[in-house]
Amino acid sequence: MTRKMPDHYYKLLRDLQAMDFVLVELTLYLDTHPHDMAALQQYNQFASARQHLSAQFEQEFGPLKHFGQGYTRAPWQWNETPWPWQV
């Protein structure tokens, strides 16, 4: 069965990956520079922006996280969308 995800899926996914990557980098930086105010501010800005973007992604393509870290429609959506290594 070929199931094609829309181009929009890949676009939105990449947007989220880019935003989350900045957060990974800032996290590791802050682990060794805990007093850098500019970096702390940027971290909080991106953390809030990523919440909006992931909510938008989940609205369209189902939950990104399990264990109640997101919402589900019926039937249980977790297993509905393809897995990262499949797309």
Partner: protein, 189 residues
């Protein structure tokens, strides 16, 4: 605890049907300097390292699992549609005999992963220098893997992973500096 997020850290793309490359990539899956070893090394050391660097070990250890998933994705895509004949030609006949196409924690030569790949000395400097060395060795392995393929899309994912090791090494070097600075008891003469 850990929460899984249903996305890769970086979009992995593989454009050339090359099961032999899957065999080589196993070096970073279940090899001595691979991503599994990295994740387990840092997440194990963190229990006994000084508090100031526990966060760093936790975060880098967690990121390594995301790298492991990227390598798994590459191996999966490279072998998924290969015939047993193609796998045999790629030097994966012995793998097929044991595992079919299942991934397995072993290196490029088929040696299974072992806990002796990672160290935990309990001495913060010994452990952090081990981590710095591990990152440089992982970086070097990525270089040799990049050399072994002409698939620019696969190279692209490997270059991302290589650069991450450069940054991890930097953070561990900084952690050493932080420990140098933490004079708990000032000696007065």
């Amino acid at each position: 605890m850990w929460i899984y997020e249903k996305k890769l850290q970086y979009p992995v793309k593989v454009s050339k049907c090359d099961p032999y490359m899957a065999k080589l990539l196993l070096e970073q899956y279940g090899g001595a300097d691979g991503e599994l070893a990295a994740a387990l090394r840092y997440l194990n050391q963190r229990y006994t390292i000084p508090d100031k660097v526990i966060g760093l070990l936790t975060d880098i250890g967690t990121e390594e699992f995301a790298h492991l998933e990227m390598i798994a994705t590459m191996v999966y895509k490279l072998t998924k549609d290969a015939t047993p004949e193609q796998l045999r030609a790629a030097g994966l006949g012995d793998h097929y005999a044991n595992h079919d196409k299942a991934l397995f924690y072993q290196n490029a030569s088929g040696v299974p992963w072992t806990a002796t790949y990672i160290q935990a000395k309990g001495d913060p400097i010994a452990d952090l220098y081990e981590d710095i060395a591990a990152e440089e060795k992982a970086r070097a392995t990525y270089q040799w893997l990049i050399d072994m393929t002409d698939d620019v899309d696969l190279q692209d994912g490997l270059k991302f992973l290589r650069e991450r090791e450069v940054i991890h090494s930097l953070r561990f070097r900084e952690a050493v500096e932080i420990l140098k600075e933490s004079h708990g008891v000032k000696k007065v003469f």
